[in-house]
């Protein structure tokens, strides 16, 4: 594994972790923009723009884009989140040039009006699809409620109304302000030479406009409360909690990752033994999510509606015990085994490394090897977990529930 980095004159950051030990190469553009960078007037534009990117530019039509990705046998996709929009592909090394050319074209799309009008239908269908998924409905409400007034409270998809009202001029403006070379990272992982990466970056991206987009990063006091969305036809009650956790630069990040595994992994965790093993719920998990300036612990479970209050009490009991007593050495060692094995398994494929490479640069502006990842996880102590719990005690601060119940009261 060899790491390289460079910056083009226009500010595009190029990073690569290269090896000959794999068969494929992953390449991706990570754009530092997402729903948190939007305004009310353009809610949903980051995600809609990600779709529009695939409609091509003056050289490549939408059909060309779809066709060429298939011709090179690419495994590719794009994703939009609160803080990031990414476009990526894994291909055999001989197709890296063609694939990078195409991905680069996506970053500077034509945004044609007829494509815009047609794709709007697809976005509205996507919103409809998620509307039929209770856990996603809970997630949307959770982000809006917990981060009320904070940029992270903005919906990635937007609403039917906001997307319907969006114009292509507004999208052009957003693209002009956010898709600047200094706001983009080109990341490459896998079987390839550094000289080739540099050549491709210069060939396909050197004429992009320079500049960076600013982002206001602030901390946040979460909004407490319980929010109920009644869906009478739902068979289960879906419940989500969210509370504050370390942000992306916090020294206790690795501890937070391990705590989430101890408390809320899908097997053998505290929530597993308390809720899943006895059959009270279908699933219960706690995850740790880092953002710029803030982080969250997010818990979710789904079970029989009539058991909801009891389940909420069981979750509270798990939280209180761990806040009071911390975790055992044995639990921590086990969580480390799980996380280290996951890191190694995902690193075996260039796509897995690409994601880690891009995320580390977006959030921490630095490279971290697999070995460093593993060392950081192995170095966490039970006393650091106690420090973490003292600063970020687990709590049912913001609660959202979706299901047939008309009221939910507990405590």
């Amino acid at each position: 594994m060899q790491f390289h980095e460079a910056r083009l004159n226009n500010g595009l950051q190029v990073i690569a972790e290269l090896t000959t030990g794999v068969h494929s190469v992953g390449v991706g553009f990570f754009v530092k923009t997402g729903s948190r960078d939007e305004t009310d007037a353009v809610s949903g534009v980051s995600h809609f723009l990600e779709h529009m990117a695939f409609k091509g530019n003056d050289r490549f039509s939408a059909d060309d884009v779809n066709r060429i990705f298939d011709e090179v046998g690419a495994k590719y996709n794009a994703a939009t989140a609160e803080e990031l929009t990414m476009y990526y592909a894994a291909v055999l090394p001989e197709y890296l040039d063609r694939t990078t050319e195409l991905l680069a074209a996506l970053i500077r799309p034509a945004l044609r009006q007829d494509d815009f009008d047609m794709e709007k239908n697809v976005i509205l269908e996507e919103i409809g699809m998620y509307d039929d998924q209770p856990m996603f409905v809970a997630y949307e409400k959770m982000m809006q409620a917990h981060f009320n007034g904070h940029p992270l409270g903005r919906s990635v998809l937007g609403t039917k109304e906001s997307v319907s009202a969006l114009t292509s001029e507004q999208m052009r403006g957003y693209h002009h302000d956010h898709y600047l070379a200094g706001n983009v990272i080109l990341a490459v992982a896998g079987n390839c030479e550094w000289a080739e990466v540099l050549e491709l970056a210069n060939k396909h991206c050197a004429d992009w406009p320079a500049g960076e987009a600013s982002r206001v990063v602030t901390g946040h006091q979460p909004h407490r409360g319980t929010f109920l969305i009644q869906r009478e036809t739902s068979q289960q009650q879906h419940v989500m909690h969210q509370d504050t956790a370390p942000d992306a630069l916090h020294p206790l990040r690795a501890a937070a990752e391990l705590l989430s595994v101890i408390v809320g992994d899908d097997s053998g965790s505290r929530l597993y033994w308390e809720l899943v093993d006895p059959g009270y719920v279908e699933g219960a998990e706690l995850t740790y999510q880092e953002y710029h300036g803030v982080g969250v612990f997010r818990t979710f479970f789904n079970g029989q509606p009539e058991e909801t209050e009891s389940n909420l009490g069981r979750v509270r009991k798990v939280y209180e015990k761990i806040n009071r007593e911390g975790v055992t050495e044995q639990e921590l060692a086990q969580a480390k085994s799980k996380v280290c094995s996951r890191v190694v398994l995902s690193s075996e494929r260039p796509m897995g490394r690409l994601e880690s490479l891009g995320n580390n640069w977006i959030y921490r502006n630095r490279y971290q090897s697999v070995a460093k990842d593993l060392a950081q996880i192995r170095a966490v102590t039970t006393s650091q977990i106690r420090d973490l719990l003292a600063a970020f005690p687990l709590a049912q601060t913001t609660t959202v529930t979706v299901g047939p119940k008309s009221t939910v009261t507990w405590k």
Partner: protein
């Protein structure tokens, strides 16, 4: 693909062990298939295999439930276990040095589970929760029900069982299922990764070698389901499921069938994506895939769309499926080949992908197909062969299921 070597070892008790060493990875993975899946559920107690799987990991060998989970977790094993139709399937991946210890634990799980009586209710409750969660996921629900309609019984039944079946289930039935069905003959263990084949072979012979063979249990067969149905459901979108007959994995025509479905729905330049989503903006999700039991192949198509666009979506999707006959172009086949080539090469980066393929190949074909052989098969495809296949197995007699607020009209001409 050069250098790929698979060892096949037949234990005297009938267990097949397949080992593929992979030098470039640090991990190792296994896939263990035991022929004890949901087709063997007593007809009035559907869900028996699913509850058995819940119970198998609640203590085995020397370890109680918590001890066993801890032991597996300490090995960093990323694992899954589930009742499928023919098999109960166990899979796991971890750092290569931990795989031998994991395999020893699985020998306990499949041979010496405690099946504790006091865990029965919790296991049933867990299975009930799984069934209820499918009800809240319309995209999953439609495919479960489509499969039930288009495959003959018991191959179409959901492997999760039914709420009625679970209500009838008793612990003695679950134990009987274990005693009757768990056996080494016809079980398959695929292992892939950075392993020493001699060490794995010795370990498996030691841990599974004295597992006694048993006769294959019987199961009841029945007819397939209806060709048309609608499930009333209050939702934003209408879900559309379409199925038609194709060929199973072991059929000489399989790769032609695979490529024909690839032209229909294999990538973003495929026909369904282009015509239904890109040209008309009718859907976010529309796709079709070839699935195979041992004897029957089916193409299963899915589209989800809001109520007012649902009729057009169904019409256009059916039109595209019917248009396939005689219309495939060279460049469409070339793109299928390119995607297949890249998938095959990238499979060599995934120990769990390879372990699953080894076991799956053995089940369907009784041998492991090398990646080079698959590549040869794909390279040899021609448009003429795809067209000949579609004449022999034309997409017709569609099974059509909708789920949503309103039923749709299905033109008679298409069925």
């Amino acid at each position: 693909m050069p250098g790929q070597q698979v060892q096949t070892i037949q234990l005297p008790n009938g267990l097949t062990l397949l080992i593929e060493p992979m030098a470039d990875v640090q991990s190792a993975a296994f896939s263990l298939l035991v022929p004890a899946g949901s087709i063997y559920d007593p007809p009035d107690q559907a869900g028996c295999a699913s509850v058995l799987v819940e119970l198998l990991v609640r203590g085995a060998g020397e370890l109680d439930s918590q001890g066993l989970t801890n032991a597996l977790d300490n090995l960093g094993l990323q694992r899954s276990e589930s009742a499928e139709r023919r098999y109960v399937s166990f899979g796991g991946a971890t750092l290569a040095e931990n795989l031998p210890a994991a395999l020893r634990l699985y020998a306990d799980i499949v041979r010496r589970p405690h099946l504790p009586d006091d865990q029965f209710e919790a296991a049933v409750a867990g299975s009930e929760q799984t069934l209820l969660s499918i009800e809240d996921e319309p995209r999953q629900k439609i495919m479960v029900e489509l499969r039930r309609m288009c495959y003959p019984d018991p191959w179409g039944k959901p492997s999760e069982g039914s709420l009625e079946g679970l209500a009838n289930l008793s612990m003695p039935t679950v134990k009987q299922h274990f005693q009757r069905c768990f056996r080494p003959n016809e079980s398959i263990l695929g292992v892939a990764g950075n392993v020493d084949p001699a060490e794995i072979r010795a370990l498996v012979e030691d841990a599974f070698g004295d597992w006694a063979a048993q006769p294959e249990p019987a199961y009841l067969s029945g007819p397939r389901g209806a060709y048309r149905d609608h499930i009333e459901h209050e939702s934003t979108q209408t879900q559309i499921g379409i199925a038609f007959d194709s060929v199973p994995y072991r059929d000489p025509d399989y790769y032609s069938a695979w490529a024909a479905v690839g032209v229909l729905s294999g990538g973003s330049s495929s026909r369904l994506f282009t015509e239904v989503r890109e040209r008309r903006g009718l859907c976010y999700a529309v796709h079709a895939g070839l699935t195979s039991s041992k004897d029957d192949g089916r193409v299963l198509c899915y589209a989800g769309t809001t109520v007012e666009r649902a009729q057009e979506t169904l019409d256009v999707t059916l039109q595209e499926i019917r248009r396939l006959r005689g219309s495939i172009q060279n460049d469409e086949l070339d793109r299928c080949k390119a995607r297949a080539k890249s998938s095959l090469i990238m499979q060599q980066e995934s120990s769990s992908g390879r372990a699953a393929s080894l076991a799956n190949d053995w089940f369907h074909l009784g041998r492991v197909v090398s990646l080079s052989e698959i590549r040869g098969q794909i390279e040899s495809l021609t448009v003429a062969r795809l067209h000949a296949h579609l004449e022999k197995y034309p997409p017709q007699d569609f099974t059509i299921l909708t789920l949503g607020p309103q039923p749709l009209e299905v033109p008679n001409a298409v069925s």
